[in-house]
Subunit: 193 residues, 4 copies
């Protein structure tokens, strides 16, 4: 099965998710600076979600570039990931409009689910491509993924008492991933040479 | 005629349909758990429609991978399918906001129409590709499609008296299709070898 | 300059235009049949616009398949076409919500502009590809395009007195184009042989 | 790393941005000409933003066509550009609904940020592709980019006193770029020969 169309479909869905969030940004209610200032926290939460979706696209891109084969299970594991990603605009909007313990915790739950979905997808791809595929070497042991899950779990618990602190932890996870994953790139280059 | 651009356009439309439904999800009206609980049935209906659209994408993907040729009639049969799929966000939203006999039956009517459109598309592709093409072997006799149509028809009738039971039947159809269609994959692999 | 990315971008924009119109369909205000009946005219206008956009995609697809080369002027002529197509959801929505002389005439003006933009695009592509390219043979003399423009102009004038009659003329134009343009396909096949 | 998927993803995001703005156009509140006239300024601002996004797509297309290689830094520089472009519908909407000094200045700030993001992306690509790549020759010294930045800065300052004059300056920048960048095309052709 060719992976090209799966990549193209995922690109489409992720491109829509990342752009649709802007539609949810209600425009300031007047033309003045105070109105813009009132929208500022929502703009920052939008930026945070933009970065998260961008990170997923980057990792998705790297992982599929290293994968040689996909199968029906991979299609569904990918759909499962896209489902959780598609809820990011919903929880971002909720958190932005009604900041508080439950919406911030809900954001974290969606993030945990997406992270687990990505992990499942990587295992399915690994099973199709075999243990000595470039993908296997590229994925390696994923300290970052485990760290993210732990921080997300702490953030969800913390959200119920200190929602802004939970958001700070989400920012920490984003920063962990913003450091480009040179490991995969290095393996890909080694394979090419 | 190359099938590449038809696939790319369909990917775009289906990606938008699957993501646009999230836009229709009105965010909970407050920050509390009861507000989230009030949204929960809509989230589940969104999940159901997500799964249906994902099934269509999967089957579309498999069918076009087995097809060697497309023609003008196939372009229009595909547009016809996309039209019915594009109504899924509309009926999902209606059913979610105003749960009741008519909206639930309308959902089923759109589903039946999409299923018929998919069947027409498969026959058009079969006519172009010939009776001994890989596509012909891949499609075979489609018990699942006939079963789905029958269940949909029962559900539409049932919706007028017991809407939730009709939704349960829609879930049954989704489950029938979630079992991956190994048949087509097997034929594709046999052809490749 | 490769035409691939221009095609992909156009596919994306047209896919969004064709799907976005569903978002504009406000869901029936209650769960009953009368509410659905009240939405029915809007659904039919949506279907009409869906068919128009589908026709443009089909013709765009055929034309670019026959084109061997694109240049900077073709990029802009294509953007010009996409601009007018992007207004179709806007006028469809206006016509659907506030049916009357001005909205129906505005719909026709957007249709005329899109038709002229398509004509300009075809001439620009013709100039790049040369008078004895497959594209030149595929385009030939375009009776349909001229007939459409004349009917649109009559419809715009008529809209001010009899809006429903103007809509009937729009349907006539759609039917003219729904007949697949076998000419281009025939030339493409001849070239391939 | 292949540039194909980065181009496809960017195409998707830019296609959505350019089309989403139409969704923000609230339909005229009645069926009469005065209602259409009331929407006219917003339509013109939409046209302006459409042209800006089209210019970005064109330049993005030309630049990536000349680039042979991309790396992780280029992925993120591209995401950074897409982030600023994704805010264009937001500021266009704000400027259209609440015309005044702050919204018009905010539009300019987003435009300056997008221009800087494009510059950063071009430098990152230059670093990957080397000083004697076709890209290096294609980019050359960019008088247009510097002129745009200066005019944007003047416009932002001017917006606080004379918002319509600032919009006029935005139009000037758009016109500067509408002149097709023949330089890059010429170099590409020279390379091909």
């Amino acid at each position: 099965m060719h992976k090209g169309r799966l990549e193209a479909f995922s690109d489409g869905v992720i491109a829509i998710i990342i752009t649709v969030m802007v539609l949810e940004l209600h425009m300031p209610t007047s033309a003045g600076l105070p109105a813009l200032r009132a929208v500022a926290p929502k703009l920052l939460l939008y930026l945070l979600s933009f970065v998260f979706v961008a990170i997923y696209w980057n990792n998705h891109h790297h992982m599929f570039q290293a994968a040689r084969r996909v199968n029906g299970a991979a299609l569904w594991a990918n759909m499962h990931l896209l489902f959780w990603l598609s809820l990011i605009p919903f929880v971002t909007d909720w958190m932005g409009e009604r900041f508080g313990p439950i919406p911030v915790a809900a954001y974290g739950v969606v993030m945990i689910s997406a992270a687990i979905a990505f992990y499942i997808l990587s295992r399915v791809l690994l099973a199709v491509n075999g243990p000595d595929s470039p993908l296997a070497r590229a994925l390696g042991r994923d300290h970052k993924a485990i760290a993210s899950l732990v921080i997300y779990a702490v953030a969800v618990a913390l959200a119920l008492a200190r929602p802004w602190l939970a958001v700070a932890l989400y920012v920490v996870v984003a920063l962990i991933w913003l450091v480009p994953d040179r490991r995969i790139e290095r393996v890909l280059e080694a394979v090419r040479d």
